[in-house]
């Protein structure tokens, strides 16, 4: 576990949790995720291109209806501060053949977000918690799942 982890609410601001997003497809979903990172003041706009580039080389689909779009290593120069955003698509997005209900966008210079990503994976390994995340309707539910004491 990373020692220099950043508190969850600091990394994933409440204003960066958007539970009623809709997207026409994968790239649209990635652009919206990037826009949310931009709105959070975490990146320069060029990072969004780096996110699309990364997705075209390796899918960031994690499983259980969740993808974690992020930029390439090169794109790190466009990151101003570490941040996460979470977009939920009540109408799932076709992500290279996988239905995606939740996209967690990542902007990271350091490793402060790794503990939260490992907690996200732990949530997704539990079918009931994964379902709870896909159907979350409040940011409190999202925080409760991602802040599980197992982290």
């Amino acid at each position: 576990m990373a020692e220099n982890q950043t508190p969850l609410t600091e990394l994933l601001a409440e204003s960066s949790i958007r539970l009623d997003a809709s997207a026409s497809g994968r790239d649209d979903a990635i652009r919206q995720t990037g826009q949310a990172l931009l709105d959070a003041g975490a990146i320069d706009a060029s990072y969004i291109d780096a996110m699309l580039e990364r997705e075209n080389s390796v899918s960031t689909y994690m499983g259980e209806g969740v993808a974690i779009p992020h930029g390439t290593l090169k794109g790190k120069d466009s990151v101003k501060q570490d941040a996460l955003v979470l977009l939920r698509f009540p109408e799932p997005v076709d992500w290279d053949g996988n239905p995606v209900s939740v996209a967690v966008g990542i902007a990271a210079k350091g490793n402060g977000h790794i503990a939260i990503l490992s907690q996200l994976a732990t949530v997704l390994l539990d079918p009931e918690k994964a379902e709870a995340l896909r159907t979350a309707t409040s940011s409190d539910q999202v925080y409760a799942l991602l802040a599980d004491e197992d982290a």
């Binding site: 990373a2 499983g63 490793n111 790794i114 490992s118 390994l125």
Partner: protein, 89 residues
């Protein structure tokens, strides 16, 4: 049961792309491989979610174990994957 202990070379640790490439390589061996973190938590190495859930950072030690035919060859291959900085490419 054959085992290998290895230090994760990837500069970003075992997550994102390196985790994905590692889990794919583990699945491809056709052998059931167990990945255990220094903290003692074990997962199926071929499960991307399992690998990610360990939250392994760069420079951390992990243990790989496998059983049956081809176990040693599979472990040797996966050790070389972990010893490569997969995020450099």
């Amino acid at each position: 049961m054959p085992e290998r202990t290895v230090t994760v070379a990837s500069s970003v640790g075992l997550h994102a792309r390196p985790a994905s490439l590692f889990a794919q390589a583990a699945a491809k061996t056709g052998v059931t491989v167990t990945l255990t973190s220094a903290a003692g938590k074990s997962v199926n190495a071929a499960s991307i979610l399992g690998v990610l859930s360990l939250g392994i950072g760069s420079g951390e030690e992990v243990t790989l174990a496998a059983e049956g035919d081809g176990a040693d060859a599979a472990l040797d291959e996966l050790v070389s994957v972990l010893e490569t900085d997969l995020d450099k490419e």
